[in-house]
Assembly symmetry: C2
Homo-oligomer: 429 residues x 2
């Protein structure tokens, strides 16, 4: 299907792997998060196989904040990916599936002492430092544990990607990292701290980036900055360029064509590093959304239908803003289909509203659809990233189950919350 | 403290009940949701004692979507409140503390069959219907169970409260309820459906309303509509006016003075009903936010401090957008204080950012504060509503504990999520 090559239309029916969406909904109930396992693996291989170099080690890190649950992290392990975690909870999930600690990188601003201690204890590969006071805290923790932690520093190259304010991360007043003007001094301090071994720099210019020139431009600025650092006696050989590659959500989105882009980027970096006389030991990319989003969809059951006097047509679904916060948070756009009526022409424009007790709980303002009927399965496509992971328990609605489909097979990989799960932390006495 | 009469400044220290915020943070850790139990009870009594009538039964329903957990629902029970629930999960919470079912009202759009069945089985007091197809579904379910369910219909009086788009609920294209133009016809059908007993009308004009005239205006429109309905042979004697009373979050907010407003409203409704020749058996109000918000605050620990070259000062806290989605969702404003330094003059304007891996995770853009130090306890005041209840597990950070303070005593009423809780639904095999 357009923008979603891994989902098929077979005689008007939406098919994931070799399973119809309708059968999956009947088996597991709705709302339901569904991933095509083969599509996830293909996308992992696209990154691993096309971002390669003979002159440096190319690492692909899955940014697990996009979606973190045991089965997905295990898949990332099996595909040889490295892993970004931003919390003790994400680290715990990774360790629960025996993800090799040396392939884990700890990210984020304001890592807690407890989290840094857990990271050091697990022996994870790298910590990307956000600022100098964090560097000092980690130094104390590592030194006390008698260990040396390899670190990078997050810096802001000052390149703006054209994206939503909330997910634009490298502007001058970003909460993340340090500006280039002040980073040099911080790096000098970090290089001298016990328990730390300075290895390189990280940047992340934003999310849902459609223009590859912004990405390349940021990379060159980073290389220039590495040259300047070298001149000041700072020894660094890892460049982490972050992620942020855009995906297709709805008509008009034009994602970067990954395979040629990644190959071009890998070569460009070889040349640009050589031209600047920099020895790069490793270059990292951190896809999150672009790794998992378009292998996923959410299935809902259509409930009540309401046609208002002003012409607005509402189709209510059994989930909404809690299982997909992105619309209320970012006014994100999505594509909806009726899973068993793909070949039916659109009758009207439908507003797809959830069942959360809030006016803003509308997932799509106007979707051209054949008139939905109660009981129809409605699929929202491309929900593999930042839906499960941002789930809100608002209205005490249960978190949906997650299902992996592999050809004819399917299995629950996260079970649906029960009513008892919902009140599990409430103390009743 | 200004806007928060239940929190005290004692020699520069923030005190809830007779406990310092700092001691609570030390005992239970941070982030921590804290409620003053006495303040909750006082607010419940303000509603119950000031909204009274000799000519109709005045019911106060706590809208539990504002904050639903066992201890709070038990408190609502003890204070004689009635209860709004909008899901099976909220109903389950209420039943877990033996909330009398006949004092529970089921609300919301697109209630699922499963939820309606649970409501009928529990024998709850009333269902507020959103639309006709829901009415038909409930009729079938009630009839099959051999029961008669008392119902109200939600209608839109077309009054706009000045509030955020997402929480403005009675405009003509709202997903909730039916417009007055079409409601009459629907009521005729509902009155004839087996298993249902039509009792009245519900409206809710919005949230965080500061102008009492909007509320009164909506009430009069509803009474006029009841007259019109009476003329068409529709028998209804309950009027549910919803909630939406604004609270103080930050300087400039001027909430309605509840006690006189409620007394005036109660009298006004007596007179207006009498003038129209309507016999009102019951009038309901549904405070949610205004019942609990300002009895609550959230405690955080200040972590890293970052001063950017452009003059932006960041103080990072150990929570953020996950435990308070309202800022990212509605650009909501809040008041922050350093819990042990209330008497210190502000040194600078501080941006209070959380530890979620997202640029938008900023709880306050510019708070005038004495320069925060790592380890300081920072309190955000007035977080009793729509914070715990909207909690998002983003970044796999644990949901904070909830503590009730009563004078010198304090107790955990919701325990903090553990790492094992976070992965509890992940299937590891």
């Amino acid at each position: 299907m357009k923008g979603f090559p891994d989902f098929q239309n077979k005689e008007g029916r939406l098919v994931v792997g070799e399973c119809t969406a309708k059968d999956l909904a009947a088996t597991y109930g709705t709302p339901l998060y569904v991933y095509d396992e083969e599509a996830l693996r293909r996308q992992a291989r696209t990154f691993v196989n096309h971002f390669k170099s003979d002159s440096y080690k190319a690492r692909i890190l899955y940014a697990s904040k996009a979606a973190s649950f045991a089965a997905l992290i295990r898949l990332a392990k099996e595909e040889g990916l490295n892993l970004d975690v931003v919390s003790e909870g994400e680290l715990y999930t990774a360790l629960a599936v025996n993800f090799p600690p040396d392939r884990i990188i700890f990210h984020g601003n304001n890592k807690l002492d407890r989290e840094l201690e857990a990271a050091v204890e697990a022996g994870i590969g790298f910590v990307v430092l956000d600022n100098l006071s964090e560097a000092r805290r980690l130094s104390t923790i590592a030194d006390k544990a008698g260990q040396t932690v390899e670190v990078l520093l997050r810096v802001n190259p000052g390149v703006e990607a054209h994206t939503h304010d909330y997910i634009k991360t490298a502007t001058s007043d970003s909460k993340f990292g340090l500006g280039l003007a002040t980073a040099g001094e911080a790096l000098q301090v970090i290089q001298g701290l016990p328990g730390l071994r300075l290895r390189g720099l990280h940047c992340h210019i934003g999310s849902q980036i459609f223009a590859d020139d912004a990405f390349i431009k940021a990379a060159h600025i980073m290389l220039d900055f590495m040259v300047a650092c070298q001149g000041q006696g700072l020894s660094m050989d890892i460049l982490d360029l972050g992620g942020g590659f855009g995906v297709f959500y709805e008509d008009g989105d034009q994602p970067i064509d990954l395979a040629p882009f990644l190959e071009g980027l890998a070569q460009d970096l070889e040349k640009e590093a050589r031209d600047r006389g920099i020895r790069l030991a490793e270059v990292w990319l951190e896809p999150g959304r672009s790794m998992v989003n378009n292998a996923g969809l959410t299935l809902y059951t259509v409930g009540d239908i309401k046609r208002l006097a002003d012409g607005t047509n509402y189709a209510f679904i059994d989930g909404g803003m809690g299982d997909n916060m992105r619309v209320a948070l970012y006014q994100a756009g999505y594509t909806a289909v009726l899973a068993d009526r793909l070949d039916d022409a659109a009758d009207n424009t439908w507003r797809i509203a959830g069942k959360y007790c809030e006016s803003g709980d509308v997932l799509i303002k106007g979707a051209p659809l054949p008139d939905p009927q109660p009981g129809d399965i409605l699929a929202i496509l491309g929900t593999g990233a930042y839906t499960f992971s941002m789930f809100s328990g608002y209205n005490r609605l249960p978190r949906p189950a997650v299902v992996f489909v592999k050809g004819k097979d399917h299995r629950e990989v996260v079970r649906r919350e029960s009513l008892d799960d919902i009140i599990a932390q409430d103390l009743l006495e």
